[in-house]
């Protein structure tokens, strides 16, 4: 279930110098004894592997590059020639597509909505899960393991299993109290909190449980309350874990389409970017100046997070990939 692997976390960030140094040394020793023909053969092999890897990396990057370059071209040009022709001078790039989608197509508001949905949609589940994880890790009470296992098992429940009844609950609540949750930020925050909880509880409980017990003992002997221990000792010590979790949950909410469609689809003014872009695709199928710039705006923040917080990002993604 947990695909978290300490090596996986660092391998993308640092190319494991210690591990790769060993075979290299062995290879050098062998090469000295090999005849020229074999040495040439291994050289060719090595370059072949390098070329294949470069090709694969190119195939993986080119589609995104094409989108980005197109988003910077004049609309007339996007439709007249392939984006790769823009790579040759004379260059003529423009940001007018971005101005257009941000101001005219409501992408600016959608960007704000994505933030308004994703930030509480990240903080709430993390906080609620951290409280619970502390109890699961360091308190004893009847049924503890069963409750914990039940919550963890719910991690893989398909979102589809929950949507209709929750919509029903929201409707009932609206009829009873007038509090409208469908189409409002609060409704989607609560839903994302619930969907994010099982994984967050699982991750944090395992991390908390791994901390040395002396820590809590001495704090208790000194008369620290649970609240004090939680905020003064536990949270500061858990920053790396919390960072991975927060990034994972943020990306999950930011990139989510289904939940947003169900709860915000009927309210375009509060819909996040994923919904807005999906609607643009429906109505402007081949209007590439709109679609490319809109898509790139939605990618900007995840890309920044990826390149600045790569370590936490990878760790979070790897640990949480089975989440429903």
């Amino acid at each position: 279930m947990s695909t978290m692997n300490p090596e996986a976390q660092s391998s993308l960030v640092a190319p494991q110098k210690a591990a790769s140094a060993l075979p290299m040394a062995g290879e050098a020793a062998r090469v000295g004894r090999q005849p020229l023909r074999q040495r040439l053969l291994s050289l060719v092999n090595h370059s072949l592997v390098s070329i294949i890897v470069i090709l694969i990396a190119l195939v993986w990057s080119v589609p995104t590059l094409g989108l980005f370059i197109s988003s910077l071209r004049l609309p007339a040009l996007i439709h007249a020639t392939g984006w790769w022709t823009a790579l040759v001078p004379p260059w003529s790039f423009t940001i007018q597509n971005y101005e257009y989608v941000l101001h005219t197509q409501g992408l600016g508001q959608a960007f704000l909505n994505s933030l308004i949905i994703a930030i509480p949609g990240t903080i709430l589940p993390t906080l609620v899960a951290a409280f619970a994880a502390y109890a699961f890790a360091w308190m004893e009470f009847p049924g503890r393991d069963w409750i914990f296992l039940t919550i963890v098992a719910l991690m893989v429940i398909p979102v589809q299993m929950t949507l209709i009844p929750v919509l029903g609950l929201y409707t009932m609540l609206a009829q009873a109290t007038g509090l409208q949750l469908t189409g409002n930020y609060l409704g989607i925050w609560l839903m994302h909190t619930a969907l994010g909880l099982p994984f967050a509880v699982y991750l944090l409980r395992n991390f908390f449980a791994g901390l040395p017990s002396d820590l809590f003992e001495s704090a208790r002997i000194d008369g620290a309350s649970n609240i004090n221990i939680f905020f003064r000792i536990l949270l500061p010590l858990s920053v790396p874990s919390l960072a991975s979790l927060v990034i994972f949950q943020f990306m999950w909410v930011w990139n989510d389409l289904l939940v947003a469609l169900v709860f915000m689809g009927g309210n375009p003014d509060r819909a996040p970017m994923t919904v807005t872009i999906a609607n643009l695709v429906n109505s402007y199928g081949s209007n590439w100046e709109v679609l490319t710039s809109a898509a790139f705006i939605s990618m900007a923040l995840p890309l920044v997070i990826f390149f600045t917080l790569q370590r936490y990002f990878v760790r979070g993604i790897l640990a949480g990939s089975v989440k429903g």
Binding site: M1, S20, L67, V128, Y134, M139, F141, L257, S286, P302
Partner: protein
């Protein structure tokens, strides 16, 4: 996990000599989480199962009618067939490609850069990926300028441009390719870590005995990392079963590309058929349960081996 829980169980008795008496404190700490889980996950789950036995408006008990409909209606059968195609092709492609790239990337100097390039698509939303690939697949009739990369390459090589997204001969494969593009990086990173965990003496010994790289791959690397391969595969299956965004954005489920999650959405919002929608959700759940069971069992074996 089991090991960790057993450790946990013994910890408080070992370290604290607190008397066992009922205390409200733990319940206050887990209360909010439990409340959320009950209201938004547990209760809806059972309610959805119940709804799947009711009619479209949830006013009448219809037994297995919705399930029978799903397995007999030609349009819905196509949805199931597509999901199966996704399940098999996308899973095999991501895991096999991820494994091959992990092995290759292990041998080059610019490993971290190459890995980052292949992993980046994971940061994007399926929606953004859908737009990116719709642009790659863009089609213009023969003779016109192809602004889509794939058709431009194809025509440059002397072929005919193809409507990758609307032509039902290729479109399912074209959509699956988008998923493979996004998730191969994930498989690669995890499998790469497992490969690095293989003691280098074993590989060296095999090479000294004259084993070729292909033999080493199939006889040593693959068997030694098989638990990780199993974990990655089950993760992919759980993900792919619920595939929604790519299909919704790229074809809207048209042109014979519909899958269960998109059909669910359409049953819910276009046809207002709560019965069939719920039955589709239950099918997804049923498909995931055995995989979860398998995953947990593998995990226990893995923990025991450590």
């Amino acid at each position: 996990m089991i090991k960790a829980i057993e450790e946990q169980r013994s910890l408080p008795t070992k370290t604290t000599a607190r008397r066992k008496r009922f205390s409200l404190t733990p319940w206050l700490w887990i209360g909010l989480a439990v409340l959320f889980v009950i209201i938004f996950l547990l209760y809806p789950m059972f309610f959805t199962i119940w709804l799947s036995f009711l009619n479209a408006t949830s006013t009448q008990f219809v037994g297995l009618h919705n399930y029978i409909l799903i397995f007999t209606n030609p349009a819905l059968l196509e949805v199931l067939r597509n999901n199966l195609l996704w399940l098999v092709l996308a899973t095999v492609a991501t895991v096999v490609l991820g494994l091959l790239i992990a092995v290759l990337v292990d041998r080059v100097r610019f490993e971290s850069v190459a890995k980052a390039a292949i992993f980046v698509p994971m940061a994007l939303s399926f929606v953004a990926a859908g737009v990116i690939w719709r642009f790659v697949y863009e089609y213009a009739p023969p003779g016109q300028t192809q602004i889509g990369l794939l058709n431009a390459l194809l025509t440059a090589l002397g072929g005919q441009p193809q409507a990758w997204i609307t032509d039902s001969r290729f479109n399912n494969f074209a959509l699956i390719a988008v998923y493979v593009w996004m998730w191969t990086g994930f498989c690669m990173v995890i499998l790469s870590a497992a490969i690095k965990g293989i003691p280098s003496e074993i590989l060296e010994a095999a090479r000294c005995d004259g084993a070729g790289e292909v033999t080493i791959f199939f006889r040593i690397i693959v068997p030694m990392i098989s638990p990780t391969i199993a974990v990655v595969t089950t993760t992919m299956i759980i993900n792919i079963l619920k595939i929604f965004d790519i299909v919704y954005v790229m074809t809207g489920g048209n042109y014979s590309t519909n899958v269960v999650a998109v059909e669910y959405y359409q049953q819910l919002f276009n046809f207002n058929n709560f019965g069939v929608a719920s039955a589709l959700a239950v099918l997804l759940l049923l498909a995931i349960i055995p995989i979860m069971y398998f995953n947990i069992r593998r995990f226990r074996v893995q923990e025991a081996q450590r």
